[in-house]
């Protein structure tokens, strides 16, 4: 089938070929190819490791959620909007916490955007207009491999005709493979991004005297050169990653780069693009925002939504033992949460909905396998720039989709509430 959409990373490429009978792929990157390959699946639903029917598993899951005081409903970034919507409603009905993968990913960036706003554009604009691409604290070659070719580096756009028309700068604490495609590599010391942004803001405004000879391991002359390069470009895109959001300072680092972008926009045009990880991590935030007003870390225990990242992210709720059950959908917190948070996950009943066995499966009480979104189930996803894209069903499957499972679970929960 032509024009298949890849449901691995936030670039959500929609120009791919996939033969569902033979599992043959064309034009995918290695990550997408792995996504669209045959892999070991969770074969059937289980309760305490014993095989049960879908109906029994869903019923047990509904009971656990209904009987707990404050369950955590976490994950959502690798499923479609239709399922996420049901997840948010379910969280409200069981008076639980809705949180999603961004809280171990770009949530600090979203926090900064809530505070400061963001000058943004679509990936299409990046491709068509950007003549200076700055990758800051991200490694697209390994995390979003087709992003550089489709949009930001080699892409042939309307006004920017290709690599020759584009300057590419990589700023990072280590020289990654992505640095090899750059015309300039700037190495900063770990944890100094905030300082470097501040120095650049001072230089943008002409306060050269205020900047010391070296900032974050970068010589002042190099920073002056960098700022001049920015001022003389027509359309700059700063693509940033967790190198900024996951170090000390978190959202404050991102706030500072947003302020830098605001300043650059007084001289020329500049936009900011967070390199979002999972294919629908933006949807996991957007859908929750249109359902209840907040993107993540939402607590419904009082019957209305309250947003507080310092209390209600999955990690915070687990660290403080503030949740007594968990529903994990399309995610693997046992592999990706810090050790101390996983310790608590081991103590409470966990329900998992996922196509593949992972570390969370090993500690789950109820395991419900599902169809793979974008391969065996269709729906809508938001690309990293917020553009909604339809993802297809390209392979027939006996597995229930996330949407079907959650619909049934919600029905059961509502029934239990009535009783």
């Amino acid at each position: 089938m032509e024009n298949v959409t890849c449901t691995f990373c936030g670039a959500v490429c929609d120009d791919l070929y996939f033969d569902g009978d033979e599992f043959r792929t064309k034009d995918f990157c290695p990550l997408g190819e792995a996504k669209f390959s045959r892999k070991k699946r969770i074969e059937y639903p289980t309760i305490d490791g014993k095989k049960v029917s879908y109906e029994e598993a869903v019923e047990r899951a509904a009971e656990i959620l209904h009987n707990s005081k404050r369950p955590l409903l976490f994950g959502w970034s690798s499923t479609v909007n239709e399922a996420i919507r049901l997840g948010v409603i379910l969280a409200e009905k069981v008076r639980g916490i809705y949180d999603q993968c961004a809280s171990v990913c770009h949530a600090p960036s979203v926090l900064a955007m809530i505070e400061e706003g963001i000058a943004s554009g679509s990936l299409g604009q990046i491709k068509n207009r950007t003549d200076l691409a700055i990758f800051w604290g991200c490694n697209p070659v390994e995390a979003h491999p087709r992003h550089p070719t489709r949009y930001s580096v080699m892409a042939r756009g309307l006004l920017t005709k290709g690599r020759a028309d584009r300057k590419v700068v990589v700023v990072d604490v280590r020289k990654t493979v992505s640095a090899l495609m750059a015309s300039h590599f700037i190495q900063v010391k770990p944890g100094t991004d905030y300082l470097v942004f501040s120095a650049m803001r001072a230089l943008m405004e002409g306060y050269e005297d205020a900047v010391p000879e070296e900032v974050g391991g970068v010589r002042k002359e190099k920073l002056i050169e960098f700022v001049e390069m920015i001022k003389s470009a027509k359309y700059i895109t700063i693509l940033f990653g967790l190198g900024i959001a996951h170090t000390r300072g978190h959202d404050r680092n991102v706030e500072n780069v947003i302020k830098l972008v605001q300043l650059i926009n007084r001289y020329t045009r500049c936009i900011l693009q967070p390199m979002r990880g999972h294919f629908n991590v933006v949807g996991a935030g957007e859908v929750a925002a249109w359902e209840c007003g907040f993107e993540w870390a939402v607590d419904f225990s009082r019957g209305y939504p309250r947003f507080a990242p310092s209390e209600f992210t999955g990690v915070e709720a687990l660290l403080r033992k503030d949740c007594d059950a968990a529903l994990i959908v399309a995610s693997d917190p046992a592999a990706h949460f810090p050790r101390a948070a996983v310790e608590q996950l081991k103590r409470i009943p966990v329900i998992q909905i996922d196509p593949f066995p992972n570390m969370t499966t090993l500690l789950s009480k109820v395991v419900i396998p599902c169809a793979i979104s974008g391969i065996e189930a269709e729906g809508t996803a938001y690309r990293m720039d917020g553009v909604p894209i339809r993802v297809k069903k390209v392979v027939e499957s006996e597995y229930w989709s996330d949407e079907e499972i959650l619909e049934k679970m919600l029905e059961k929960v509502l029934k239990l509430r009535e009783d």
Binding site: K39, P108, G191, H246, T247, H250, P309, F312, F337, R339
Partner: protein, 124 residues
Amino acid sequence: MNVIIITGRTTEQGTLVEDKLTHDYFKSVNYCELNKEDFARMGLKEGDRVRVKTDYGEVVLFARKNVIDETHIPEGMIFIPMGPYANQVINPGTDGTGTPQYKGVKGIIEKTDENVIGIPEILR
């Protein structure tokens, strides 16, 4: 040796992320990458193990030199692919943001004869 720990995605880890309970996945996340000079200074050979300790935990990992020649990790820094091994030593504190500090964590590494444990043991 004092180090700054950086964690992050790699292509290998990314391609195996839906194949978590396989030996290939363990191999893609159970090592740390060091600067070449640091590697030599610690008297390490390929296949040797190091213990990484931070205020938040410790873990034994395989030690590797910069995997790709043209890339570079500065002296005093180690890189661990994101995943269950890295998460033994990162800072779970969120500074009120709700997001742990996965990068830029201070730690100590030393050579060890101990073995790298498997994923089921990590969960134990």
